[in-house]
């Protein structure tokens, strides 16, 4: 029983409640309180990342011990993979909360904003930590419902329309997931992921199995905005307040989408080659089409949102490649390399996409517009925003020495080693197109001459916003250190081992 696990979920839930209750009496309390709580979560999650190492740790909710080696209570599991996700959530969450301190005063009802923010973080932490299929669904809904409300937080025409679309598609996704969970329970009579794994290993009906996998894949694929299900993402992510856009793009689609897909397909289902090929091709599709849709955008946040689809494509492509190799039973080293590349890119994407959305928010805060054509000449007026945005742009386009370069390099090397030359070539081409798209952003926003409208009274944003942007900018450099073998082995390798450990993972959890 590890006491840190429930704390990571309970503390943000309590914070959400308290900011609503105490925010009536002390107006400024919620914003500082949220930032402090997120700092606490940051420390707790890094503590658990360092402590967990290659091990596993369990928390049985309500203290229900297994009977005859059959788990009956709800399990919460912390391992290397979920610890990495926790660190991503709390890092971006803390920086967004600090950023919000000066950003959100444009809106009314600040305390509702912070309450929803904490609920979203609590839900994501719950999804990441939960070892029980239905529990994943419940926490998923907690975070998704608060994100619906946060997307509509501006209550103007665009925000409401985006939120409506998001809710309808998100609702369909939830029912697909629920149906999938129902089918799994019907066949296996258990909801514990480790127990389901053991049940699936003993044999299964092939048609049923593929059907369930497709239900789960399309449900969580809708949440993660993989290509055929991406329609809601550009609207929702561009309409939300900027710190929330950073959370949604940087963390949310990973925690409730990609993380769960990877976790379930490695640690619950027995990997089959057809599904692995399907996942890889969906990833390639989102990678290629996402970037081409992004090129034509003039709304800065929509452009970034389309790039999120494309960059998530890289992660899914890398992980799918690993799955194909594992299912063919050949060369587990290359499979491990591909998965390492995918996870590394997941971490990096959180840093640079969070930073880019915070930059976009800073520009919108000062200029009041998101249209690239109305900007220009901002590099002299907003030097810090300009510099950090340049770092993030080069990072997402994969230029050395920034972090994006190393993760893309690992993915391309893994594809070449696995002899998927087409995928490697596509990954490089998409990276070049990304660079073109971000050069356009840099040029129009920061370096072009300002349009006839006078921009003289534009100045740099307030210090909490600068703090978040600078920290993320430094992270874009520091994360490239993860490419070095010693650091990679101590941080990324435990997560990859957990995922590659398809045979004994279930037994380990049941035995604890």
């Amino acid at each position: 029983m590890n006491p840190v696990i429930p704390i990571l979920v309970i503390v943000p839930l309590a914070c959400a409640f308290l900011s609503m209750a105490l925010g009536r009496f002390v107006r400024d309390l919620p914003k500082y309180f949220t930032a402090v709580v997120m700092l606490f979560l940051l420390i707790a999650s890094f503590y658990s990342l360092i402590n967990i190492g290659t091990g596993l740790s369990l928390y049985k909710v309500g203290g229900w011990e297994p009977v005859n080696k059959i788990p009956i209570g709800i399990y919460m599991v912390l391992d290397g993979y979920s610890a990495i996700m926790l660190c991503i959530i709390s890092t971006i969450g803390f920086l967004s909360a600090v950023y919000s301190i000066s950003y959100i005063n444009r809106y009314t009802g600040e305390k509702y904003y912070y309450a929803l923010f904490c609920l979203m973080v609590a839900g994501m932490n719950g999804v990441v930590l939960s070892g029980d299929l239905f529990n994943i669904f419940v926490f998923l809904e907690i975070s998704v419902i608060s994100s619906y409300a946060l997307v509509a937080f501006g209550v103007e025409k665009n925000e409401l329309e985006a939120s409506f679309k998001y809710q309808v598609l998100g609702g369909i996704a939830s029912f697909l997931i629920l149906f999938g969970i129902g089918f799994i329970y019907w066949k296996t009579k258990t909801l514990n992921i480790a127990d389901i794994k053991e049940a699936f290993k003993t044999g299964y009906d092939k048609t049923f199995y593929v059907f369930v996998q497709l239900l789960i894949l399309s449900g969580f694929g809708l949440k993660a905005a993989i290509m055929p299900f991406h329609a809601w993402l550009p609207d929702a992510h561009s309409s939300a307040p900027s710190p929330i856009s950073a959370m949604l793009s940087g963390v949310f689609i990973k925690a409730v989408g990609i993380y769960v897909i990877i976790r379930l397909f490695f640690n619950m289902f027995v990997i089959s080659e057809e599904v692995a090929i399907l996942i890889t091709s969906l990833g390639t599709l989102s990678m290629v089409i996402g970037v081409f849709l992004a090129i034509g955008q003039w709304d800065i946040k929509r452009l970034l949102a389309y790039h999120s689809i494309s960059q998530m494509g890289y992660v899914i492509l890398a992980v799918g490649t690993g799955m194909i190799l594992i299912s063919r039973g050949q060369n587990r080293d290359i499979a491990a390399l591909a998965i390492t590349g995918g996870l590394f890119h997941l971490i990096n994407h959180a840093a640079f996409k969070g930073l880019l959305f915070l930059n976009a928010g800073a520009i919108e805060y000062r200029l009041g517009t998101r249209n690239l054509k109305e900007m220009g000449g901002l590099s002299a007026r907003m030097p810090v925003t300009s510099a950090t945005s340049f770092i993030a742009s080069m990072s997402i386009s994969g230029l050395p020495p920034f972090n994006g370069f190393f993760s893309k390099l690992i993915i391309v090397i893994a594809c070449v080693k696995a002899r998927f030359y087409l995928l490697a070539v596509l990954a490089v081409i998409v990276s070049i197109v990304t660079l073109a798209s971000f050069l356009k952003l840099q040029r129009y926003a920061f370096y072009n001459k300002a349009p006839d409208k006078e921009n003289h009274n534009i100045k740099e944003v307030a210090s909490p916003m600068l703090f978040s942007m600078i920290t993320l900018g430094i992270l874009c450099f520091l994360l490239s250190l993860l490419a070095f073998p010693s650091l990679r082995e101590s941080i990324l390798q435990p997560a990859v081992d957990i995922l590659m450990d398809t045979d004994t993972y279930g037994l380990k959890i049941i035995g604890m």
Binding site: F134, F137, V138, E141, I145, Y148, A149, A152, V155, E156, K157, N158, L160, E161, A162, S163, F164, K165, Q167, V168, G171, I172, S174, F175, L178, F179, G182, Y185, W186, L191, P234, D235, S239, G296, Q297, R302
Partner: protein, 112 residues
């Protein structure tokens, strides 16, 4: 088996409604139909032929009981469904105040 099939048809009816209806309220109702079909499916998988409500009576050791877990899951899911539906309705009311219409064809600021 026919009940499972009907349950799936109900799901498809809801999906059809979400895709084809033009009125925001009708879309919300179609989503609720999908939701209910999912709950029904959960109730069905917990049912055991001849089973009784799962309140164990020590006097009758041979009594068959239905599986209580799916019922608990459905209760949880109903609460979640309530939250999603009420939030969706709140957003629809706000949309109506801004656009003065429920017609989804006229609510299309966001494109591209």
């Amino acid at each position: 088996m026919i009940t499972y099939l009907l349950c799936f048809i109900l799901f498809l009816v809801g999906l059809y409604g979400v895709i084809t209806r033009r009125n925001l309220i009708k879309i919300a109702i179609s989503l609720s139909i999908m939701e209910v079909s999912t709950f029904l499916f959960f109730a069905l998988i917990g049912y055991i032929e001849g089973g009784r409500a799962p309140i164990v009576n020590p006097a009758e050791p041979n009594q068959v009981y239905v599986d209580p877990l799916p019922q608990a899951l459905v209760l949880t899911a109903i609460v979640i469904g309530l939250a999603t539906t009420s939030l969706l309705m709140a957003v629809i009311i706000r949309i109506y105040r801004k656009y003065k219409t429920f017609d989804i064809r006229e609510i299309r600021n966001l494109r591209g």
